[in-house]
Symmetry: D2
Subunit: 282 residues, 4 copies
């Protein structure tokens, strides 16, 4: 089912998300606290935006995050103003552990990651692919529900590559969620889908916490403040005194602190280029 | 572009194909002799039939064959009356190196491997998938042209699972080749396809050497005789004195011997359960 | 800290140990029940004895057991009268995840696997290696404490390769444990070592459950009876009615049954070629 | 036997060494031009120095360089003033393919890589390790001759960590080469060793081209000039007009150009912080 963390703000070391915090993403790969199944050992991925490059850089591996020496090294020396990090738990029996199935996914300058799943995905996959353009159809290289949802999202972003905005990201994400619901109604009526995800172009971002199941929704938190930093394994967000320089969106709080706010059920978090933040129902 | 070797006959050690012969498949992974590009280092796979099991066993890995300690071990202790072994060269830039892309592919009791490629595969892939049943569509887990060709083959075998025969294998393979040609004519007219492959159900087999290009065809050989064995790296086929107990079909001869016959251009080799062998144009 | 299972008896499918039982070794890789830390995701290994081959076959991988398709396949088609299977949890921060560090280890016709650890191993490793013959010194290819303990064991077996017996295995294991204790006293006095392990030559075996720590010992069970089989995920040992044909030694019971006996603290289980079993203090 | 490239100068994209040039290191992994065996497919590694970090960053993988998507990504977005890149060919049969065996090796702020081999390494390894301090002994995590040579080098650098200079690097390297020769004379008299290597602390570097064999020496080139850049796959060194800003040391020229000078046989190239270059016999 996965865990993820997203950061936007002043340039930050990837280690401050992935390896240093008391409840770092590495720790969540071994022992997630807010999932029924604590293990997220089916690969991992990082994406980060680099000045002067349109497409985000990406590092993925099919081995577990907790023992990957390359991840430790990259986390130590990589800083960015926009970072996505994800540890994967392959949905039971359905999806292969492979690099092609590791999040984040990319299209052009966009990146996407997901925690959740689509029920009966094999039943509706063909219909879903039928709605894609040829470019979208051919973009799919793996077998995850996530990559297919992102292909739906990307259809809405195609052609708008140059005029990024929070609202266009939110519209694309909402449209994809609506399509998924429609496909479920047609192919697996009565089933529920779980879609916590982050979509960004490196300058704007939308995160959503969505479940069609009244009885279960995966956890998602945000944290916005003056600055986020770590000293050893002690990490903190400086309070917002009018000058916001850091926003985190994370499956679980990275540290014990009152600053982590749960994203309300079935809401999107819209993050503007200036780190303005708005909650909007989906 | 790949290299492969196929064996049917008396129970044989996998090592006698993969590690022992002077021009073993391992050696062909490093230094193939009859390909313009000698390297086949993008993963490998074995499939072998086991008494009492319908579906063939399979071992695949995305690392090169020449350094895989597990392959050495399995080759040493595994014997079978029907063995497929394949080393992969990912077609330039198009196809990911992953386990899902390693041959042989399987469906039910059938196994399939391929050396060659389909031009402009991205252009015709969607049409090809449109011709598949839902089961065929969902069977595809990787991104190779081979797996898609095998899905076409499998459509023709579906429902006939219980009445295997050489002729039904040959018919399925011929139909798939015809479909591929039709798709190329529609989507990449003037292009040529290269389809050396083996299809088996463990008791019968069909190999084909096919190219629509008058100027190039990949190598393929067969070797039929009384028995095939190795002593150290010296391997030999005992002459056929009326009692055929071994047939090999291989991209390249495994040893220096006059017994290796080239499969004629655009022909199939049909291998019966009793090791009867027939050549038939495709 | 690892989990393992060992089998000796009538030819058995590896799947009956690794994938089928309700508490199979695969399940123990995700969620061990009798370890403080339930996760054993740092690689795995199988060794099994094959008729006509002196050295046991081995399959190891640095990826987790739960998602390894090759392990599933091999377990399905491999049967043996003597099987070792192991899932690894790399001791915290000390030992790399690599194939060379996956158990079982082999020397000549012997195989060895371990659950536990040696404290302060870096401090005493050099002294330990100083006690090895040149052959023993050069045999070490990885960095685990286990491989070094096995090198000590092997020194005692060298030269006795042809006259295997339970007692010679037990003597070699006891001598190695004594050496380890001596090295700890010299280099890390007051520390405790944890040595649950299995040593076999394919015809005889010794398992030990040993801890120098009065406050902690890892779990180890044995189960001896008429026959061991699985039907789906339901596995059982037929009662011993005078004709013993199966012995299991396992870090945890593979199923809910009263037949699993804990190995007494600091004892060895000696298993004879005829499946006679004796407990002996170490 | 391996191929490598080293860069020191103005900040440079790793891609300008590894992926872009006509004879890039990736191309040398498939088809090296100046080795009898063209294949270097047994893993690879990068090390690069990052402002503000003492220890160089490192990325290594046991899969071949030519198909590694992460290497492509990192090469694209990583720039540094001091870069080491290496593709490995495991010496025949002796050395495992594992991450621990991939160059470059590191100790403190030093990095080291090697092309060549030490004959009869198993015979002399124990003596070599006997000359190491406990820290040096414990530093060794793999099985390559290279890592052991670097442990010898590091003994000479230990304690001098703060006062780096070309001369201290050259002295450490020369002493290690002398020790290796002495060990060969003792354990494998008449054998020859091949030691092309690079040692750096990020600010100074020494490369050596050394063979004790009068009949064979591996290739090594250097290239020093005003600036080194690529435009697509066309790469060039601007001529030295008094302002040197780039030095390359490479197993093979990366492009067709007269600027690549062979390092004279059994010489070291000493590279100063200001990119001053001196040749010195070893």
């Amino acid at each position: 089912m996965c865990r993820f963390v997203f950061y936007m703000g002043e340039s930050l070391s990837v280690a401050d998300l992935v390896t240093r915090p008391e409840n770092s993403l590495i720790n969540q790969s071994v022992r997630a606290r807010e999932r029924p199944e604590p293990l997220n050992g089916d690969g991992f991925g990082l994406a980060w935006y680099v000045d002067g490059e349109t497409s985000p850089a990406r590092f993925r591996s099919l081995t577990p995050a907790w023992s990957n020496a390359n991840l430790d090294e990259l986390a130590r020396v990589t800083s960015s103003r926009c970072i996505l990090a994800h540890v994967r738990a392959a949905t039971s029996g359905n999806f292969e552990v492979s690099e092609a199935n590791c999040h984040p996914f990319r299209h052009d300058r966009f990146a996407f990651m997901h925690n959740g799943h689509i029920p009966a995905f094999q039943q509706l996959r063909r219909s879903l692919m039928g709605r894609l353009s040829d470019a979208g159809f051919n973009s799919i290289r793996g077998t995850t529900d996530t990559e297919h949802v992102f292909a739906l999202v990307s259809e809405h972003l195609r052609g708008r590559e140059d005029q990024g905005s929070c609202q266009s990201l939110a519209a694309a994400l909402s449209a994809a969620v609506a399509t998924v619901r429609e496909l479920i109604d047609a192919h697996a009526p009565g089933s529920h889908c779980y879609l916590n995800c982050v979509l960004t172009d490196g300058a704007h971002a939308v995160a959503c916490r969505y479940s069609s199941d009244p009885d279960y929704i995966d956890s998602l938190y945000y944290n916005r403040g003056g600055n986020y930093r770590c000293d050893g394994d002690r990490c903190w967000m400086e309070p917002d005194t009018g000058d916001v320089r850091a926003i985190l969106v994370s499956s679980e709080p990275l540290n014990k602190s009152a600053q982590w706010e749960p994203v309300p059920r079935n809401h999107m978090v819209l993050i503007e280029r200036d780190l303005g933040l708005e909650l909007q129902p989906i």
